[in-house]
């Protein structure tokens, strides 16, 4: 399935929840979606399309907190980035960890370093700096200065 077919399928299934698409190359595709639709899009990719969750990358920009959920199709070499933009006042999004364990650690890490809340996460404890870091200080936010 080429990129166009993938975009077509996602648009057909999720309609207006797909906000924007960008094709970086034949094996790299970024699809921006409505944050509220994340759970159903991820469910489709993991259970029906059989994609593997690689990791998620968060970044703090002028638009707010952006997260890229990277999925891999190991048969075609495709990396599909599901992009969401979260409000910078109160960043929160549904957790994927009840669907697969692969996202458990990275969501804890993003919560610890960026202060993004993952709703319904089974265990949103600190992953790296337990007992060594001040509460409410998020080192990967842009306003953080040492």
């Amino acid at each position: 399935m080429n990129n166009e077919a993938i975009i077509g399928e996602l648009r057909k299934k999720f309609g207006n929840d797909v906000l924007e698409t960008e094709e970086q190359s034949s094996t790299r595709l970024t699809v921006t979606i409505e944050p509220l639709a994340l759970l159903k899009v991820a469910e489709h990719l993991y259970r029906e399309a059989g994609l593997r969750f690689i990791i998620a990358s968060a970044i703090h920009t002028k638009k707010g907190f952006e997260i890229l959920y990277h999925f891999s199709n190991d048969e075609t070499g495709l990396v599909l980035n599901i992009h969401v933009i979260l409000n910078s006042e109160k960043p929160r999004i549904e957790s994927l960890s009840n669907m697969f364990n692969a996202s458990n650690w990275i969501e804890r890490e993003m919560h610890e370093l960026f202060g993004i809340d993952f709703l319904n996460h089974p265990n949103q404890e600190k992953l790296i700096s337990e007992g060594n870091w001040a509460e409410g200080v998020y080192p990967y936010r842009k306003e953080f200065k040492k």
């Binding site: 190359s25 690689i54 990791i55 990358s57 990277h70 458990n104 790296i128 060594n132 509460e135």
Partner: protein, 399 residues
């Protein structure tokens, strides 16, 4: 759950090369629950990368892991070259693959040795580490360093492998092949190793998909994922080789996959060297004037599995954000599946079977007061403190 007692392994334990703390909750001999604490090695490399130029980041990411030190620059180069949309020369591709495969051989031999040590089989440990030495000597000959080779840059490699060095490399490869054959035979036929590793620490296909495990950990459970084949890069699509898989999912299957993979690595290196002879010497890099704005996702198959780098560029000379995912990050989480229900002595080899690398998994230096949250020392003051202590000790010794 009747957790009768707790066995802590770490944070500093003579069996482990890096600091990590495992808490095994045991009921008699059987492990009933496992918890771990990481963070002892967290160095904030993703944050540091934002303050370095693209050229400097290569040296930074090379220091994420001391064992597979080329796999991170490999994935980073793939990511940046994707943003620039450039294709490197064939000679650079072959050299990159040769370095990557030499690293796989030495890393797998290191693992085989450690696995033997964990089992209490120190002969395997001494053999494997002895056979690993010539590979490190090759690295010294090719790159000038036994580890942290500094071979990669955007657009190619820093040093050439001159044609007159090829016979020496082939000679060592022949030797490695003989020794690995010997080691594989000894390990695969040994009844003690069979009884210690077969049926121990089993991971099913479902566990691999659920935890997103990669590399030999996944391939030993019959999941044939290998980035070198799935998302080809460097010279891997230009040579013939096959992905090694096993079906058992246990520690034995993981050992089998790693041992057999070394033969494939030797074959890849031999083919690459053969093709290198036909390429023009010195044609190892292309000039890259600027890194445009964009997102680049680079992947590379490290000895432990897929390394993933995501680079966000705004067109300046350093990345705005650099996300790194090492294979151990997803592989270590499978311990919950492989260790629970095992006896304590089998739990240690199950922990070692994924070849965990904590430096890779964690990547700040400031000391805070726990009660008030106030900063006590910053990074510079901590370094000064350390430098002063060394100076004091030296002065005492002179006296």
């Amino acid at each position: 759950m009747s957790n009768k007692f707790l066995i802590p392994i770490g944070p500093y334990h003579p069996l482990q090369e890096e600091p990590e703390l495992f808490k095994l909750y045991c009921d008699g001999e059987i492990v009933r629950d496992i918890k771990w604490e990481t963070g002892y090695n967290h160095r904030g490399i993703e944050k540091l990368a934002e303050s370095k130029t693209y050229d400097q980041v290569f040296f930074l990411v090379e220091r994420i892991c001391g064992i597979c030190s080329t796999s991170h620059p490999f994935a980073f180069a793939n990511a940046v070259e994707e943003i620039c949309r450039i294709e490197i020369t064939d000679r650079a591709k072959y050299i990159r693959s040769i370095i990557g495969e030499l690293e796989r051989i030495h890393s797998h031999l290191l693992w085989a040795g450690l696995a033997g040590h964990f089992l209490g089989y120190n002969t395997v440990f001494m053999w494997a580490w002895k056979y690993r030495e010539p590979v490190l000597d090759l690295f010294e000959m090719i790159t000038g360093n036994r580890n942290s080779y500094a071979m990669f840059k955007v657009g190619g490699v820093r040093r050439d492998i001159e044609n007159n060095k090829i016979p020496d490399i082939l000679k060592v490869m022949d030797e490695v092949k003989k020794k690995v054959t010997l080691l594989t035979g000894a390990v695969m036929d040994d009844p003690v190793i069979h009884s210690r590793t077969k049926g121990v620490g089993v991971l099913t296909r479902q566990d691999i998909t659920d935890y997103g495990a990669v590399g030999p950990t996944a391939r030993a459970s019959g999941v044939a994922i290998d980035i070198r084949k799935d998302d080809p890069y460097a010279a891997y699509p230009l040579v013939n080789w096959k992905v090694i898989t096993a079906e058992g999912g246990d520690v034995f299957a993981k050992a089998e996959v790693r041992l057999l993979e070394m033969f494939e690595s030797v074959s890849i290196i031999e083919q690459c060297l053969e093709k290198l002879r036909k390429e023009k010497e010195g044609d190892i890099s292309i000039k890259v004037k600027e890194i445009p704005e964009g997102i680049g996702t680079g992947r590379a198959e490290a000895p432990r599995g897929e390394v993933f780098h995501c680079v966000f560029s705004d067109g300046s000379n350093s990345p705005v954000r650099h996300k790194i995912r090492a294979p151990s990050y997803v592989n270590i989480a499978t311990f919950r599946k492989s260790c629970i229900g095992q006896s304590i002595s089998d739990a240690t080899i199950s922990l070692a079977a994924v070849d965990p690398c904590y430096c890779c998994t964690e990547r700040l230096a400031a000391a805070y007061d726990e009660a008030s949250g106030k900063k006590i020392f910053n990074a510079r003051e901590l370094i000064e403190l350390s430098v002063n202590k060394t100076r004091l000790l030296r002065e005492q010794q002179v006296r």
